[in-house]
């Protein structure tokens, strides 16, 4: 559309031109969201909710680097990766809500907003890996490498899911996660195989993340084992190239489902939506 000036565009019959990211509509608008026969709707919803929560919380942690990353290029990269994951979260949470409306808190909000902003910590199903607070760049790169390697392998399998919506989300996600994994892997190698100081800090970051790896792989069947093998092979490749040591650390006991880091994260993420439930953006 061409307008003579920017203000003219704003006087149109809608306000979505004020800025990108305003005037949100249902991310699944106009899509066939019926649950295929033979698929257990509640189980599908649960899977989408878990995958969506991982993406949402990881995205929030990545957004914390905006205005704090070591270089402008990395700030832009981390914001882009966070945006991709936020997009995945929106679709997955909306899919979960469509498949099982009982999951959605009864508030006057869109499904995705109700799920993101009006659930308490105990109702989030994300892995603990993504909620850990991290102000250290090496730790964040180790976490991003573990997360995107695991999620890419998982999404490559979900491309064959019996649900057409989840299949479509996974197929798009695979393309995005490929770039995320490469980005993180290159930083881990660069820091690991860099100076004495960067090596030491990269190893420390990897050691800090490692106790949270086992919880990503709790399945027992052949496909779950293949997923773990694929993950281990990629990690070994990066660890070798980065002159790092494979950590052998015991997993953190699963005392509670979440760490103490999730509550403060949610308090920040949900505060505006809860303080102004009638606001639109």
């Amino acid at each position: 559309m061409s307008f003579d000036n920017a203000y003219e565009a704003l006087t149109e019959d809608n306000d979505t031109r004020w800025a990108f990211g305003t005037g949100f509509t249902d991310p699944l608008a106009g899509m066939d969201t019926s649950v295929p026969s033979g698929v257990d709707a509640a189980e599908l919803a649960r899977s989408c909710l878990w995958l969506g929560d991982d993406a949402l919380i990881m995205s929030h942690r990545l957004q914390e680097w905006v205005a704090a990353a070591p270089e402008l290029e990395d700030e832009v990269a981390l914001a882009n990766i966070g945006l991709d994951l936020l997009g995945q979260a929106r679709l997955l949470l909306a899919r979960a809500a469509k498949a099982d409306p009982a999951l959605v808190p009864a508030v006057n909000q869109s499904d995705e907003d109700a799920l993101a902003f009006f659930r308490a910590a105990e109702d989030f199903h994300n892995v603990r890996l993504v909620e850990l607070a991290g102000g250290d760049f090496a730790f964040s790169m180790a976490r991003l490498l573990v997360f995107s390697t695991w999620r890419l392998a998982l999404f490559q399998r979900l491309v064959d899911s019996p649900d057409q919506v989840l299949t479509a989300i996974a197929a798009k996600g695979v393309k995005e996660l490929t770039y995320h994994r490469d980005y993180a892997a290159r930083w881990v190698v660069r820091l690991g195989d860099g100076t004495d100081l960067s090596h030491e800090r990269m190893q420390a970051g990897l050691d800090e993340v490692w106790p949270y790896v086992d919880e990503l792989f709790d399945g027992e069947n052949e496909d779950d084992k293949a997923l773990r093998e694929e993950f281990d092979a990629v990690m070994a490749q990066v660890i070798t190239a980065g002159a790092l040591k494979q950590p052998y650390l015991r997993p953190v006991p699963t005392a509670g489902r979440h760490t103490e880091h999730l509550e403060p994260l949610l308090a920040e993420m949900q505060s505006v939506a809860r303080a102004h439930p009638d606001a639109t953006w």
């Binding site: 149109e12 005037g23 608008a29 899509m31 990395d74 882009n80 997009g87 995005e176 490929t178 490469d182």
Partner: protein
């Protein structure tokens, strides 16, 4: 009266305004039904924040051209690929100083690439093939940032997906 397709094809991308949504391969279908116009679009990236602006631009363009009911639908599958950017679209990108994408990777196992594979991306300013990658993430989700070693200008490159 101009067809709904012809009108929809004039709508430009909010982030790459030199391209139409049709040039970009985002406009998938335009159908005139007795109940109104049904337009189908697909996002480039899952988190693309411009989708709402696209829907709104399509609706206003069609309303202004005299079409009443307009329904803009989204499809996610098949996933958008840079291969869908038309020849005209590629030419317009290059003219605007943005290097167009090469062929997108095709299915199969996804190898980890620890060093960015050397790509022959010509500098859109001086034409030199001697350019380097600065970052695979740039001002929008769909572009990488490169620099020309010959003329030293940084430039953007629509990355292959």
């Amino acid at each position: 009266m101009v067809s709904a397709r012809a009108v929809a094809e004039t709508v430009t991308d909010p982030e790459l305004p030199m391209l139409t949504l049709a040039d970009l391969g985002v406009l998938r279908e335009v159908e005139e039904t007795p109940d109104g116009v049904v337009v189908t679009i697909t996002p480039t990236y899952t988190g693309c924040p411009a989708m709402d602006a696209m829907r709104s631009d399509l609706r206003s363009a069609l309303h202004q051209a005299g079409f009443g009911a307009v329904d803009v639908r989204t499809v996610l599958s098949p996933a958008w690929t840079t291969d869908w950017i038309t020849a005209t679209g590629r030419q317009k990108l290059a003219e605007a100083g943005i290097a167009p994408p090469g062929a997108a990777p095709r299915g199969g196992p996804i190898p980890l690439t620890l060093t960015a594979p050397p790509k022959r991306v010509a500098c859109p300013r001086c034409g030199s093939p001697d350019t380097e990658l600065l970052s695979e993430f740039s001002a929008t989700a769909c572009k990488a940032l490169r620099r020309c070693r010959a003329c030293a200008e940084p430039f953007e490159h629509v990355k292959e997906i």
